[in-house]
Assembly symmetry: C2
Homo-oligomer: 426 residues x 2
């Protein structure tokens, strides 16, 4: 990165020159808060409240049951999915909004393992978000010896792919450290050994460049050959869809008519309104929807996705990297005496839009920061984690956050009895 700013005014000058600066005014952020937790729950777009008011009063209240067709509720999971597709390098008909990340993952795991008969291993790594591993374990309770979870260290994944590997299931960005998997390399390695890939984009979508059809390597190069097979992602982090927003799933076109839904609900039936007694899957990705989506929740997600889609992707990523680099530089310069160890990759091409530092008093330090309006979060055992949302965070925010961190450390403000017991929330 370029030279560290010496003053807050330097940061303000960088914000003034920021091509994404105007997006900050499109969010409702509370006064007195520097919000560096958009990687856990994204901020509130100003468009969301009026959209939900119209959705409730005008659409539900005014149209009642007719809204399924007259207001496009039935089509919304595909329509919002198509917008997300543009953010993750997929075709419009390859992405669907539905359910939760974990449940979508279950759908894809069950389908993918069947597409790779004779192989039983789902390979993942210790850096994966635990729910992903749990969903494989849950599927394993049903499939017995036809499904086995194998978990290795992130660096050992490639070498661990073998003739029994049905699926390589990786979360692109480690939720704790922000360490980024090389999607091009991982996909190539899996395919070379006959394995399918499921990528979890929870901390990627809206945060870093993603191209599922032509996966990127860490240097911006592209995979030559078939892209990602399957993916899931989260609506409530960088997509700003609201707490517990619906998730999305991706199925590459080449697999869409081959996947058999285990969660075979009526909305994924070829003819939902025929009310047949036997399930026949709908053509294409529609078979993966299962059941009636929350129309209110999908509408809220749409507002966040729209806003993200408006911002230039290259500018987003450049700013995200710059904010992360600035944070690392300032903490290491201004808090050098206080025992923080960088837990994220130093090279910003190798991480997502977040930075974590390890500190033995991490939990208490984060509580002190939050009490002073700097909101990040804590991840066991000792990580303080900060997310940088390029649409609403600025360089001066980073400056102020580090200044607050320094003040917390210099005054030992973290050392309070009520902060000695851990109670964290994702």
């Amino acid at each position: 990165m370029s030279e560290l700013p010496m003053t807050r005014a330097d940061c303000e000058a960088l914000d003034t020159a920021d091509p994404l600066r105007s997006f900050r005014d499109r969010f409702d952020l509370p006064d007195g808060v520097i919000y560096l937790d958009g990687n856990s729950l994204g901020a509130l777009p100003k468009a969301t409240a009026p959209r939900l008011a119209e959705m409730v009063g005008g659409e539900w209240g005014g149209e009642l049951i007719r809204g399924w067709l007259s207001r496009g509720w039935m089509a919304a999971p595909r329509a919002v999915g198509a917008k997300i597709a543009r953010l993750v390098g997929a075709e419009a008909d390859e992405v669907l909004v539905a359910d939760t990340t974990a449940i979508n993952l279950f759908k894809l795991l069950a389908a993918a393992i069947e597409l790779n008969p004779g192989r039983t291993t789902v390979l993942s790594d210790t850096g994966n978000f635990p729910t992903d591993l749990y969903m494989v374990q849950g599927l394993g309770t049903l499939l017995g010896d036809r499904c086995r979870l194998r978990v290795v260290e992130p660096e050992a994944v490639e070498a661990a792919i073998d003739d029994d590997t049905a699926i390589v299931m990786l979360t692109e960005i480690d939720y704790r450290t922000g360490r980024r998997h090389d999607m091009a390399r991982g996909t190539r390695a899996a395919h070379a050994k006959g394995a399918l890939t499921i990528w979890d984009l929870a901390h990627s979508a809206g945060a870093i460049p993603v191209d599922l059809n032509r996966p990127l390597d860490l240097d911006g190069g592209r995979l030559d050959g078939p892209g990602a097979d399957f993916a899931v992602g989260c609506g409530y982090k960088y997509l700003n869809g609201g707490p517990g927003a619906p998730a999305f799933l991706y199925v590459a076109r080449r697999w869409q008519d081959k996947v058999r839904p285990a969660l075979s609900g009526w909305l994924g039936h070829a003819e939902p309104f025929a009310f047949d007694l036997d399930y026949r899957p709908a053509p294409g990705i529609d078979r993966m929807i299962c059941s009636t989506p929350s129309v209110l929740a999908v509408a809220a997600l749409d507002c966040g996705v729209e806003l993200m889609a408006e911002a230039d992707a290259a500018a987003r990523h450049a700013k995200s990297r710059a904010l992360g680099d600035l944070f690392v530089g300032l903490v290491e310069r201004d808090c050098a005496a206080h025992g923080f160890t960088l837990a994220s990759p130093r090279n910003s091409t190798q991480r997502g839009s977040q930075v974590s530092f390890a500190h033995p008093q991490g939990y208490s330090i984060m509580q002190a920061l939050i009490a002073r309006g700097v909101i990040g979060d804590f991840r066991a055992p000792d990580l303080i984690r900060f997310g940088f949302a390029p649409l609403y965070n600025g360089h001066a925010d980073v400056w102020d956050a580090v200044a607050t961190l320094r003040a917390v450390m210099e005054t030992a403000a973290w050392d309070r009895p009520e902060w000695r017991t851990r109670a964290a929330v994702t």
Copy 2:
């Protein structure tokens, strides 16, 4: 039923005397509409819009990530579940709001079949909503010969329970005809043969008296012995939770620490924030939640549930039966010449809060009714279906609906080319 009203004024008098009359003003209903489709999508409570506005602006926007604890988001699925529990005769810790009806059914099917080892049959009937059958078929793709769906006629269920029946899975109220299963009798018969029960309350919760712990028979008697084992239900019909509202599930206390979740997501982990690599189920019903719920959607559901819980259950059921009886009586008297055949049980204790008539031109007739502001719906092959929501429908609504039906028939208003092709929505 008592004698049929001779005039609209008679109906107005009944409405004036209705102890539930004031609830109608708690809903936003569009002008010029008689809404008889609350069995498909419930109407909008007036409380919902301001609650969602506060939820979005005040809670999400103001609290951001802190809202999970500070505003009780994390506890909401249990809190709203406890309110629903009172509507369905369950203990507060036996009901959880989560996901969709179909997905909750999958969770319970997977858990229940494992609790009954050596048995492979899930027994259901042709009157079940197809998605319930499809979910068994989907589970069967994973379990192979350990899970087999058997579908018989509704009257044949009891005799079909045998030594291989692991689960008797029934929807209490037939979505097409409103025919009501005898929950006491069905539960007793299943238990007598060693089978477990899963009841789908989609068209029951909020519509008829339900007592999962001490199941009711059709005459209001109660089962002596263990109650229902498992149940699911829908939030967007009589509970007025909004389009695609979250669903709920019930697990009897005696099974809660025995069920193994196949959808084993992180929020159902014993220590979600420990981020262990291995799944360990939470105690009690919490293990069935899987993943992060849509907080906005749960808040909207809460508004509908609150309103329903305020109304006296006996008064609700009495009015629901009276409206249905009135509708049947008026159609048979005033539309006698027009070829309608009652498809619902004539005895109101044997049906849910809906009435269907068969007619060869059913689809076109329903379109003509909707064009005149009388909203019911159509179910293949020939049913027109009308739901009666005792909180917001009145006797005069029923009178007006039948008068409109009669006018449609006498003028052949249904006979328009654009209504010859069917396109219906649940």
